[in-house]
Symmetry: C2
Subunit: 179 residues, 2 copies
């Protein structure tokens, strides 16, 4: 950030009075600009023991696999965001089953909130951001071709849970080196 | 947003190519500026059957009560944010017990992630943003003097869970009229 989005004048990084962290502050209109972590809402869509994954058509990591996930938008709820991303990327409709994991990536200011969902039918296809969408058995997941370490981490936790038949919410931070 | 935070020139709201929502786009440098929901990390701190609440010293809703909560910062994880807010507002140290609720407020672009925590000792006090900090029995919670409807909603769900002895994660959207 170089300029104030309110008035267009230069900003400087300083600690506002009553605060304890540096923020971008406008020297002209005194507006304080806060930047905060973003939520990535995702869904692991299930169908008869298989899960639906997408091969990314866009950078970063085009050509690699992920479950449907993307930035939550203003005006929606977390489950709604996960359902929307599933429809956009995999042209599939899901009913949300449960929240599976809340994985913070402090070094890049993201929080992955990944739900498990049930496909409402076996209809799916590649959305604009996907090259391919396929159902995978748990033993067929392309572990070496996953797009991001956080996707691998969430899927590993999911597969372990399903294998053991024990479901719990996973709340964790992922260290820099993983991502 | 009126001006591009990158180059200082005016922005216009338009749907970028490949997108389906209007964004602030710079006519000059073509930067696209995304705005997304913010996470409010909170904690319900427990001590021997009581919970710790803070009376707000700052607007909005100065003078009214809440559990410690505030905007998650870049560089931290969700539990870390909840612990930090508890220390800042109630001068208390907690160990996080579990995630209690994920409550989306779509009309104001916030997601309240509220944890339950255990006070590590009975030491607490009013931080800079609090007028008063007190332990409350469940039957003493000042329901008519709570700062925000989302705080009331989360506390109501908490008290119901504790009363029944059944703990589950609450994921919900709160409608406009409640907040």
């Amino acid at each position: 950030m170089n300029y104030c989005s309110e008035c267009g004048k230069p900003v400087a990084k300083k600690i506002p009075s009553g605060d304890n962290l540096p923020r971008f502050v406008c020297d002209s209109c005194q507006a304080i600009h806060y930047h905060n972590p973003k939520i990535v809402a995702g869904c692991i869509p299930e169908w008869e023991g298989q899960i639906l994954l997408c091969r990314r058509a866009i950078e970063p990591k085009a050509g690699l696999w992920t479950f449907p996930a993307g930035f939550m938008e203003l005006g929606e709820g977390t489950e709604q965001a996960a359902r929307r991303e599933t429809f956009e990327e995999a042209q599939a409709n899901v009913a949300i089953t449960r929240l599976h994991s809340v994985l913070s990536l402090p070094h890049i200011g993201q929080v992955y909130m990944t739900f498990v969902g049930s496909l409402l039918s076996k209809e799916f296809g590649a959305g604009l951001e996907s090259l391919d969408v396929q159902l995978f058995d748990r033993v067929e997941i392309p572990w070496d071709e996953l797009a991001f370490p956080v996707v691998k981490d969430a899927l590993r936790r999911y597969v372990d849970d399903v294998t053991r038949g024990e479901f719990r919410l996973h709340v964790a931070d992922l260290p820099d080196r993983l991502v």
